[in-house]
Amino acid sequence: MIDESPIRESIQGAPDEVMFASPVNAPGPDPARGPTIGETSRDVGHRSHTPHEEMPGNDLILIERILAGKRELFLELVRPYQKLVYSMAVTIVKNEHEAEDVSQEALFKAFKNLAQFRGECKFSTWIIQITLNEARHRIRKKQRTPEDSIDCGFENEEGDYVPIDLADWREIPSETLQRKELHNALETAIANLKQIYRDVLVLRDVEHLSVAETAQMLDISVASVKTRLLRARLQVRDALAPGFDGYWNTGSTTYKRVRPF
């Protein structure tokens, strides 16, 4: 059962649940991993550290000073995390304007609950949890109709995800994200995922939380994180690969699917 309250009760009542009673191991992506296709070694290096890991001591000092009365320092504390918060919000509420509202609300709630943060997890993880809950709260308030999943693969008898297409997508040109068509396709593909898949994908691949952190944040098992992540990545690939393999690069409007069977 996933708690969808704006801030989990645990932040105010039982902080251990949200702030992780013990430090979570395996901090995010593996910095030792080499670059994947389309990714330079600089990219991997960039992904290997978060603002918190660069200056954890500074965060804790700032938090102490804020709690001692220097409230205006909160803006300085959260500035490096704005982007994390916004990217979490926009992938859930799927609207830039609303994502700004969610970001602001989540940050304000973080301010109001700052005394509850005890440094037992990364500050970034704590603030992502608040944002996740705030964004879900927004969606629940709007009472959106249940989402349909994207045109995606099917399951075989063993429950394996079978891709709809095996288009060959090997190269990502460096300017790839500058292309509006790709950017839109990526946003749409993520937005169209079922929420259980999207949450895991965003926490793992956008926010770069570890599998263990993701499992704790969503209150699901590590095995579930891995299963859902596989499904999410394959579905997004299914949505994007034909464009790369076919009509985006050739200018053709038709694309002949490469069926797996």
């Binding site: 992506p29 593996d30 991993r33 994947t36 296709i37 389309g38 990714e39 990219d43 960039h46 992904r47 409230r71 205006e72 909160f74 803006l75 959260v78 500035r79 704005q82 982007k83 916004y86 990217s87 926009v90 992938t91 830039e96 700004e100 970001s103 602001q104 940050l107 304000f108 301010f111 109001k112 394996d160 995800y161 079978v162 891709p163 095996l166 288009a167 060959d168 997508w169 090997r170 990502i172 790839t176 994200l177 950017h183 990526l186 994908l201 691949d205 956008v206 599998v211 891995k226 992540l229 596989l230 990545r233 394959l234 997004v236 690939r237 994007l240 690969a241 790369f244 490469v258 797996p260």
Partner: protein, 91 residues
């Protein structure tokens, strides 16, 4: 009798099950060897692997979900105002 260097081939379905873990380098060494062996020989699974890696790289790119122009300033200003108001109301 196969020696310890023999790699047992696995099916495409088995490969797909662990594809995401392989991308994250989160598979046991023996299975990793099988998967690597398979990718070197199966064009379809290699396409799937490359595409999945590209998805991870794209989504993880810091430009992918960047703040729109002016958003950072708007969020900061609104937050500053709310924190100031909170002080005035004794929050």
């Amino acid at each position: 009798m196969p020696d310890e260097n023999t790699i047992v081939e696995i099916s495409c379905f088995e490969v797909w099950r662990r594809l995401s873990d392989y991308v994250d380098d989160d598979v046991e060494p023996e299975l990793k060897a099988r998967l690597t062996y398979h990718f070197a020989r199966c064009r379809d699974c290699k396409a799937l692997l490359d595409g999945t890696r590209n998805v991870v790289a794209l989504i993880g790119d810091e430009q992918a979900f960047d703040l729109p122009g002016g958003a950072s300033q708007r969020i900061t200003s609104a937050l500053a105002r709310r924190i100031a108001e909170d002080r005035e109301t004794g929050g």
